[in-house]
C-alpha cells in the first residue's frame, strides 16, 4: 500500500520484503542476481522519491509502490511518455502566415 497507510506494525517491513511483495503482486522476475540487485536499487530509489512526492503534494495524494516501481525514469518515459512531442509543445500554435505553414 502507499507509504502513508502502510501499517508501521512492530517494525516496518524490510526493503527486500517489500520488494518481494511487489514482485508477487505485479508478477515480476529477474533473469539473474545482478539484474535483481539493480532492480532492487531502482525500487528503493523510487520508494524514497514517492515519500518525497507525498511530502511535497499540496492535495491528498498518496504515493508508493505501483506497477512501475522497478523502472527508472528513462524506462518509464520511454514506455509511457507520448514522445512525439519529446517534451516540447507541438508547433500547432505556429501563427498563420509563416512560409512553412503555407507549404504545409
Amino acid at each position: 500500500g502507499s507509504l502513508r497507510s502502510q501499517d508501521p506494525g512492530p517494525q516496518p517491513l524490510e526493503l527486500k520484503q517489500v520488494f518481494t511483495l511487489f514482485q508477487i503482486q505485479y508478477n515480476r522476475s529477474y533473469s539473474n542476481p545482478e539484474e535483481y540487485a539493480r532492480r532492487l536499487d531502482i525500487f528503493a530509489r523510487n520508494l524514497a522519491q514517492a515519500q518525497q512526492l507525498e511530502e511535497e503534494d499540496l492535495g491528498t495524494a498518496e504515493f508508493g509502490v505501483t506497477p512501475f516501481s522497478d523502472l527508472t525514469e528513462e524506462e518509464f518515459g520511454r514506455l509511457y511518455g507520448r514522445r512525439r512531442m519529446d517534451g516540447e509543445a507541438p508547433n500547432v500554435g505556429r501563427e498563420v502566415g509563416s512560409e512553412e505553414w503555407e507549404e504545409s
Binding site: R4, N46, G59, P67, L79, Y80, G81, R82, R84
Partner: protein, 247 residues
C-alpha cells in the same frame, strides 16, 4: 456548472480501463474513449471502438511511437468513422502500412472535433453539459501515484511539458485537513479545507491508481491540464439539446 459530475455513473458511456502495454498509444486510447462516451450520451448506444485502427491508419506512421489526439480524430474523419474493438482488436503494436479500415463496418463516426479554451471553468461546463474531453498532461507524478488528489505547483509538475493523454470524465470536491501532515500528528481535529478535483481515466490498466483512474486538483492548471483540451463532436450542429451529468 453543477457541483459534481461523474460520467462513469451513467451506463454505456465510459468503457473499461485499457492498458497500453508497451505501445505508446495514450493519444489513441483517449480519443477512442472520447468518441465512445459521446456516442453513448448522444445515441444511448454503448460502443467500444478500435484503437488499433487509429494506430494502423494514422498519417504519422507507427502509432505506437506516440502521437496526437487531433491526428486520431483526423483518421476517424478520413475513414468516415471507426470500427469496433471487436472487429479490429488492439494488438499492442502498430502495423502502419496495414490499415484494415475498409474491411470493417463503421461502429461510430464524428462530425468534427474542437479544442476548448484553456479555462478550467469552461472545461468543467463543457464536460458537464456535453461529455468527456481528452486532455494532455505532464505525467511526471503519475508513476508513483496510488490514490487521492494530486495538487502540484509549476515547479513540481511543469504545466508546459505535457506528454501524456488521458480522458477527463468528471469532477468533484473532497475535504482534507488544512495540513494533512500536521493533522496526522496533532491530537485535536485540524481545520478542514475543501479540495476541488478532476476525475481522469488513464490507460495503464485497472491495477494502477484508483482502479485505473486518478484525480488532479481543479483550479490551478495542475500538470498543464488546460493546455490541449480536445473533444470530438458526434452531433450535427443543430439546436442544442441539454444533457445533464449524473452527480
Amino acid at each position: 456548472v453543477p457541483p459534481t459530475c461523474d460520467w462513469r455513473n451513467l451506463d454505456g458511456v465510459i468503457s473499461s480501463v485499457k492498458k497500453q502495454e508497451s505501445c505508446n498509444c495514450c493519444w489513441a486510447m483517449a480519443a477512442a474513449g472520447n468518441i465512445e462516451a459521446l456516442w453513448g450520451i448522444r445515441y444511448h448506444q454503448s460502443v467500444e471502438l478500435s484503437v488499433q485502427e487509429l494506430l494502423d491508419c494514422g498519417r504519422c506512421g507507427d502509432g505506437c511511437r506516440g502521437g496526437f489526439v487531433w491526428d486520431a480524430f483526423m483518421t476517424v474523419l478520413n475513414n468516415s468513422g471507426l470500427a469496433s474493438e471487436k472487429d479490429y482488436p488492439f494488438q499492442g503494436k502498430a502495423k502502419p502500412h496495414r490499415c484494415l479500415a475498409k474491411k470493417h463496418k463503421r461502429a461510430a463516426w464524428i462530425q468534427d472535433f474542437i479544442m476548448l479554451q484553456d479555462n478550467e471553468q469552461k472545461i468543467a461546463w463543457h464536460l458537464a453539459t456535453e461529455g468527456p474531453i481528452t486532455v494532455t498532461i505532464n505525467m511526471k507524478l503519475l508513476k508513483q501515484y496510488k490514490k487521492g488528489v494530486i495538487k502540484a505547483t509549476p515547479t513540481s509538475c511543469d504545466p508546459l511539458l505535457v506528454d501524456h493523454c488521458v480522458l477527463l470524465v468528471g469532477f468533484g470536491k473532497t475535504e482534507a485537513e488544512v495540513d494533512r501532515r500536521a493533522g496526522a500528528a496533532a491530537s485535536q481535529p485540524y481545520p478542514r479545507r475543501s479540495i476541488p478535483f478532476w476525475i481522469l481515466k488513464n490507460s495503464w490498466g485497472a491495477e494502477w491508481g484508483e482502479k485505473g483512474y486518478f484525480r488532479l486538483y481543479r483550479g490551478n492548471n495542475t500538470c498543464g491540464i488546460t493546455k490541449y483540451p480536445l473533444t470530438a463532436r458526434v452531433d450535427r450542429p443543430v439546436k442544442k439539446r441539454r444533457v445533464s451529468c449524473p452527480p
